[in-house]
Amino acid sequence: MVTNTISVSETPQVLYALRRADDALILGHRLSECCGHAPTLEEDMALANIGLDLIGQARALYALAALREPSLEDGRANTEDTYAYLRDVGQYRNLLLCELPNGDFGRIIMRQFLYSAFIDPYWRAMMKSSDAQLAAIAEKAEKETAYHLRYTSEWVIRLGDGTPKSHDRMQAALEFLWSYTGEMFDTDEAEAMLQAEGMIIDASAIHDGWRTTVQTILDRATLTLPQSAWMQKGGRSGRHSEHLGFLLAEMQQLPRSEPGAVW
């Protein structure tokens, strides 16, 4: 394999944009894997459409990162494509939740529900960002994530309050995913700097509203919120599960082996 991995100058603004972009790209890629495999044609199209929305959001965020990143020593600049295709596992900044393997339809829906219940109010709050470009991305994304939340909420209720088998699978999906939800609300020094400038909001401020949304839907779905408080973390700093490597190997294979290939 050609070693054409890029280096990235991760200023707080670049790091922030990459974290949000990586969440959207990796989760969007996971959903693209469902294409042709969902239980029905309608749900196949729904998952593909949600994936498409997320990849579109990722592109806007990568473009922003490229705009804000200081140019490299040799004068080259990163682009949407180099961020997506020419970074290694340890350079990815996405939530662990987004890279987990799909599993069954119940787990795919539950993962999307837990994420959408966070990211929709997150983007809504980000519409007030002092950074005009981030506010514009948030305004666009929020309209889409509102749909994702509605769609997944309906399926969580339908499957949770469905047959004993679908109920048990949804509860199992929830138990499996739960310890990966805490990372969504984390902030660090880099983000604190941007918060102080009013560019971004404090993700932890979304937590209580998220918990209420999740509890409301789980109640209607006759599912039980897990009690475990321990949360797995690492994605934001590049410490990933082994799953991400396999995902990237597939996603990056062509641009890695055929550098500069275009349509």
Partner: protein
């Protein structure tokens, strides 16, 4: 170039763009759809601004290409097409003419205020074939990002609903 020739050129541009339609809903021009945001002409240079309906809308690249082709065919050479995200496109920007064209094409136009919140599709959508409001949603996501799939319980025909957004 004088302001008068710029204004004349702008009229030619708008006329040329009347031929550019959405590749997925070919009865709607980009002006009907509200994704043509701005046309500015200054000293003979044309700036066309478009905005995507959805972030990942795969039609945007094709629409930009179609705009370039339409302008070039009209003999206009000095132009730029750029994309803007803000203000974000909403279905409220669909023109009244656009709503009528959608209906005639068999797609139910968006019902304002039905975009978020309400679970299990409580919005009332009239069948574009027979006008009945006894309809039900089959799928939240239809054949393209901007449409949902519905069915009429009166005439039994399935139909696309342009999702409110």
């Amino acid at each position: 170039m004088t302001p008068q020739t710029d204004a004349l050129l702008r009229t030619r541009v708008l006329h040329a763009l009347d031929d550019v339609t959405d590749p997925e809903i070919p009865v709607l021009t980009i002006a009907d759809l509200g994704i043509l945001r701005d046309v500015r002409v200054h000293n003979g240079v044309v700036d066309v601004t478009i905005t995507p309906t959805y972030s990942g809308c795969p039609a945007m690249n094709m629409i930009a290409l179609d705009i370039e082709t339409a302008l070039a065919r009209a003999g206009i050479e000095n132009f730029h097409v750029k994309t803007t995200l803000s203000p974000a496109w909403t279905t409220a920007w669909l023109s009244e003419a656009g709503r009528q064209k959608l209906l005639a094409y068999g797609i139910a136009p968006p019902q304002e205020g039905s975009g978020r919140g309400s679970l299990f599709g409580t919005v009332e959508v009239a069948c574009p074939q027979c006008g009945s409001t006894d309809t039900s949603r089959l799928a939240e996501f239809g054949s393209t990002s901007c449409k949902a799939l519905w069915r009429c319980n009166t005439c039994r025909e399935p139909f696309d609903y342009f999702r409110c957004h």
